[in-house]
Amino acid sequence: MTTTTSSPWALEVRAVSKAFPGVRALDAVNLRLAPGEVHALLGENGAGKSTLIKILTGIQTADTGQILVGGTERVFHSAHEATAAGIGAVHQERNVVTAFTVAENIALGNTPTRHGRVDWRAVRDGARRVLDMLDFRIDPDTPMNRLSPAQTQLVEIARGLYADSAVLLLDEPTASISDNESGLLFDVVHRLTDQGRAVLFVSHKLEEVFAHCRTATVFRDGRSVAEAVQLADVDRDTVVDLLVGRTLAKLDVPDRAPDRTSTPAIELRGVETERGHRSVDLSVHRGEIVGLYGLVGAGRTELAHALLGLDKITGGEVRVSGEVVRIKDVGDALSRHRIGYVTEDRKAEGLFLDQTVARNLTVTVLGQLSNRWGVLRRKAARVAADEYIDSLDIRVSSRDQIVGQLSGGNQQKVSLGKWLAARTDILVIDEPTVGIDVRTKGAFYRLIWDLADQGKAVLVISSDLAEMVTLVDTIAVMQDFEVTGHVANTHDYDEMSKAVIRLVHRTSENVA
């Protein structure tokens, strides 16, 4: 361990500033992290958290200011230097080498070698050590491209633990993993802090922050507006006020009473898939929002894929508005059955990041916007794009702005908007608010409620139980590729979480 006793702080950030062309990302921010504590770094999207993380991990350098690790001033020029100084990090984006195995990804950059040769046994053993800490049972030799996004995220966390750092930075590690896995992560985090290490935890989930962090620093618009706040002394509303700079109206859950007597918009009866789903029953009515909750690997995203024809359905039947259908592919799902799918991994699957907002919004309806010679009617495309920019309240400088420049929340709106543009009746939304800040989340929930009120059937896949309890009408619980039960949502978190957790553990107990 490299902890020195000369400084009371494991990590200290003093008046660090960083400017990019046109943006002042960080304006003299401060941060102090004591050994043995979990410290939250809070801020809305664009507040500068990720920039600070990049500076602390050597991806970027600060323009001015100091960084002290264990009392010694440091300037990092590469991720390697940061790791060597005892700073480990779990990054927000899923950054793995898919051609490598789980083990090699975990060790990447710190690969144990003997005489320039990779020591594979040590790589595997080291990987297994951290995977065991997370109780993530996967063969370290598994190729990375076989993992789901959530499993990939777990590997990223394992990578952060691998280097045995005195300071561990966690940049939204729980954004795409289930509550159960988050629980395991926090067990590890508390074990690390018990050993005297310091953990910086970046998250949008205030429940987690209050449950696990002792102190917090709040960033707003590139400034630190609160430093080392003792979380025991403040309440949630105070923190939210600090985050958004004004009191946020508490989210009112509307009284929703969807009509379940009509024929369901989409219904699954005893569906079995190539991936191993067994006797899945699920139905969503017009105007209803059904949540599909489950742990990582429960088969939720895979079910959505099967529904859209991306995976093969091997048994049972799928009915759209009462009629048995066979959906061949996404185009078929969209044009014949009006099913849209907002993907979990919006950066990789949902958007053309280097194209304009207008092009992204109209990509699903290019056929309708073209004349009979196949030439795009530009005016019609502009009108269509503007319609959804307006109705979804997408914050853009113009419809010609590049999507990659938008904040996470607005990107997600564009991703949703393109399916609305296609006039879908059934929407499958996978992890709607991953990596989106508190304020945008509320707006997004309202948007989904509105869509349901307009008569759309919505199936929401989420690992965030709090989100489920707020957003949906019925929660279907999936475990081990089976739907283990349905719970009507009472919007009471304690009651719902108990009911859902019971269902999650039902099959595993039976099997064990």
Partner: protein, 356 residues
Amino acid sequence: MSGDTTAADRSARARRWSAKDLLRRQTTTLVFVVIVGVVVLTVQSSGGFLSRISIETFFQFLAIPVVIGLAQMATLAVGQMNLAVGAIGGFAACLAGILMADAGLPVWLGAVVAVLAGLACGLINGVIVVLTQINGFIVTLATMTILSGVQYALVGTRTVTSDAWPQLQSLGSARPLGVPLIFWLSLAIAGLLSLAYRHALVARKMLASGGNPLAATLSGISNSRSLIAAHGLSGLLCGVAALLVLCSLPGVNKSIGGDWLLPSFAAPIIGGVALTGGGVAVLGTVLAATIVRLVDTARAAFQLDPSWVNLVIGAVVLGTVALGQANRRPKGLVRVRPTGPSRASTSEATPTGGVA
């Protein structure tokens, strides 16, 4: 714990060699194609193809395609291309040839010059790519043109005959175990590369940079270094190919290397190297080079016009890439806890760990 470990390891290894995987692998297909090709040629020539002379000639002209295929593979592995493979090889061979013939350079030094000239050209390519941030395609297109010009300036229209380097020529005509030494040499290089890509840290870093540059950066791996190393390696192998030219051809002139570009791409692409980077396939590249050589032999045997070879190879390259896309089944996700024996097969993993 350690008991667990070995059990898991064993099961992983067992899975790696399951018959299903073996069938699915590209290498198996390539071996099959090679066997079919040999059988067809043997039958067509009534066994003449397997005669000593014919076998010698076959391998004599296989050594260089193998090495230049590997040279191209080195750049493909980091997501780059090296259009200058032939130009570097031609330039290095002519430079060494002129120095030995006209400047009286000792022959052993000439051999070293050929290899080092290749390495230097590759490193220069890499440095230019890194410093200018220009796509490697354009950079190597430019250096290809420049080096071809230099090659012409060196030898003009003359052919520098191999009389000036008799020692290399005798190496080239050595036939241990009935197969040309230079082919053994190319196999040794392939073996070394295969080991290096599996075990050498610098090679794993290249593959990491090729597979996901951002992940590499976040892990403290320098993508710039990986690019320079990959282009350097590519150049070095071109230099080795130049040395094989000096050993095996009757002389060097301006046309050396001029027809290397297509075969250099054909071998790794048919061999299963992804154009996007992050992976290599040494055995596949060697096998694919063998297939190209078989096509060439068949062309001679059936007395077709030489242009047929390019047509066939071009079509095969296109076909391989197309097949590779079509065969890419939706990737099965591994579930953390497989619970039923009925579904165990779905979680079976195909090893793709960077090196095939």
